[in-house]
Amino acid sequence: MSEPILSVEDLQVAFTTSGKTTTAVHGISFHINKGETVALVGESGSGKSVSALSILKLLPYPAASHPSGKIMFKGKDLLSADAAELRKVRGSDVTMIFQEPMTSLNPLHTIEKQIGEILELHQGMGEKDRKIRTIELLNQVGIRDPEKRLGSYPHQMSGGQRQRVMIAMSLANEPELLIADEPTTALDVTVQAQILELLNKLKARRGLSMLFITHDLGIVRKFADRVCVMTNGEIVEHGPTKEIFDNPQHEYTKHLLAAEPNGDPPASDDKAELIMEAKDMKVWFPVKAGFLRKTVDHIKAVDGIDLTLRAGQTLGVVGESGSGKTTLGLALTRMISSEGKIGFIGRDIGDYSFKQMKPLRSEMQIVFQDPYGSLSPRMSVAEIIAEGMRIHMRQLSNAEVDDTVCGVLQEVGLEPSTRHRYPHEFSGGQRQRMAIARAMVLEPKFVMLDEPTSALDMSVQVQVVELLRRLQEERNLAYLFISHDLKVVRAMANEVIVMRLGKVVEQGQATQIFDAPQTDYTKALMAAAFNLETASSGIVSQ
């Protein structure tokens, strides 16, 4: 075995805020050999990103500090290196790609300028050489017609293309180690598969070593040579990928591996009460141009969709980002206006105004994606849950409202005595339970779930899925379940709509769609989601 290119020994990371010191990472050790991919896996708050950022000393010093530890890169200790030495290592020997491709590129510079800057700084290339090299790099990362894209700004590119540009930037100086911090988390499954394939190819071609930080075990299984499982700032288990997956030793690893959404969706029943029906629904946003702001075109976010939803059943809506899933949900709940007929418990609400909708709001509820954003930070849990009751159940006294709040909190698995606390004191999973409690307390017939599990850790996801299914069974609820995560949809929905660019690609029984997809697009989506495989070009977006 060759000398490790990077070895981290007993690394500790501590943060000091207003006199209090908390240790985020408690002495971890691992190493990366040449040409090897090591994955650092863990749930949020496990300290995996912090550990990775310490390698290049990118933490907010002096608030962050390292009470002990050594990070040896090619025989040099990076932790004790001074700023000038670090600058030489950063961006040339060791490079990093981040999770959010939207914010890691400067929105005011063209692609050519952003890549060229690195070449100029580290290699002192002239203008002509820079251009040639930039085109070469863009070619390598699979951007089509790189000559034409040189003058593009980041906002003119899709998320996947931006992440490709980020990778091109990080490869510009032929690094020996690439640190990838959740590089595909913000991307669609189909794009994620493409990016992972690209990284794999580059790794093989250049003998690149990689430190891959992720929470997604599927990716780890497929791409990493070795795995380090982190929780609470410690590496609890490490070893070759196959060994860890086949024979996990530590409790936490087992727990993590078991955290796959499972169980069965409700059975389809054609005789159940019809809750919602939409015919030829359209949401078109006008594109205006010219001095008189004439409507010249429309962005067809939702373009002619039919659906029916019965009590106790779940309709899953899947598709890549930008396919119009959420717009469809918002239009069905009349949060935005649409054309076409929407039938809801025997009424045509397609042209109801906000006022007309108000009495119906208690019957249809929404649970949003981000449990951190959907709860007002300035209201206590009790106030948040009671808000809807104060509108729709005015006859209740304060004591009755309080009783109901306690009851619903218990039902979603939260301690009622915590109802006077504020949302920020709770974890993401607990917050999502509150958001669910807020919707359930009004005893709705229909709930739109807009990616309710996407912002949560795997193990919490499983719990939320189970909770939602239990509530559905107890209350005979109709769910519209919007998600890009096909694993969760498979566990939740008995019927599925696959959307692309506002149109239905495929619609039908979930079992049929998952087991025997008909269209190429659905097939590609399934392959990317379940096996991380890429489709031939042209079927899915870039």
Binding site: L375, S380, G413, H420, R421, R438, V460
Partner: protein
Amino acid sequence: MSDTASLESIPEAETYQGYKVGPFKVTPLNHRRWLGFKANKRGYWSFWIFMVLFIGSLFAPFIANDRPIIMSYKGEILSPIFKDYPEEKFGGFLPVTDYRDPANFDEISSNGWMIWPPIRYSYRTVNSELPEPAPARPSWRLSTDQVCGKYENGVDDAQCNYGNWNWFGTDDQGRDVSARLIYGFQISVIFGLILTGFSAVIGITAGAVQGFYGGWLDLIFQRFIEIITSIPLLFLLIIIASVLPPGFWILLGIMLVFSWTGFVGVVRAEFFRARNFEYVNAARALGVGNGTLMFRHLLPNAMVATLTFMPFVLSGSITALTSLDFLGFGLPPGSPSLGEMVQQAKNNLQSPWLAIMAFIVISTMLTLLVFIGEAVRDAFDPRKTFG
């Protein structure tokens, strides 16, 4: 890592019930802000000094007045501060008694007693026994002989005491500078507070409506505000002053027309940002009306920016009033005003105590307000609050 396990791990001190600021129960967030405010020592002390000065100045008639606080005359207890007594009562002929008049002073002293405020001048009291032509020097720069030289019995006169000293001299009309400063401070701060309060109410409402509804309403209102802000305030005031008699409320009204626009920007921006937050949409999905949405869900966001802005608006209003008074377009003649004091100082360069005292009071007041403002800003800084 279980979801419910972390519930128990929140220590008891973190809960809602535990937080108090003084006697008030507060939310954890506000408690942390209060700690943040306290952590800025300079601002914290400025706050208390300012409060002492301000509340003290509200009792100005008990500190500097030309009539006794309480007195006894022929067995009757009188309170001249609260009630005007005709001079007939003490054998004179004026409709309102001048208690500083030696005749009245002697009459009352021999038939009872008087408790005077520490400074026996009000802001409009002219010292008729000035030791030297106005503006007179501070009394401590003169000998006792000089100070009391004009009294009937000289140094032995009953009126020759510290209460009748002009601690900081007099202005060019023989009025006591210390009394005028106390009243001037009071009127400046009250003017600033009222103006800031009204501006905030109007500005927040306008900003909230514009930010929440957006569209044409916002567009039109923004142009309107641009027009208002491009009118030069001082010129307009000078023109209006020639038509309307300037007074406290008229000045306040005119300045209000201009000062509310400052709040609109911050509030509007906050509403713009927050109106599509998920929790606002969540409330909308519950059927919450627009009014409640704005008041309960959006306003708390905007309040942080507004409160941070407020001490600076306050000091700005005070400065504006002072400059108007300095130019002579401010409060009516005779009112105690810091600006007028500065103007007198400019006209009487041979009497530096005017300039020095006006400078000290104005700069202390503004410095305290800016320090308080900085501390408020620190306290509301979310990076510090949540960091």
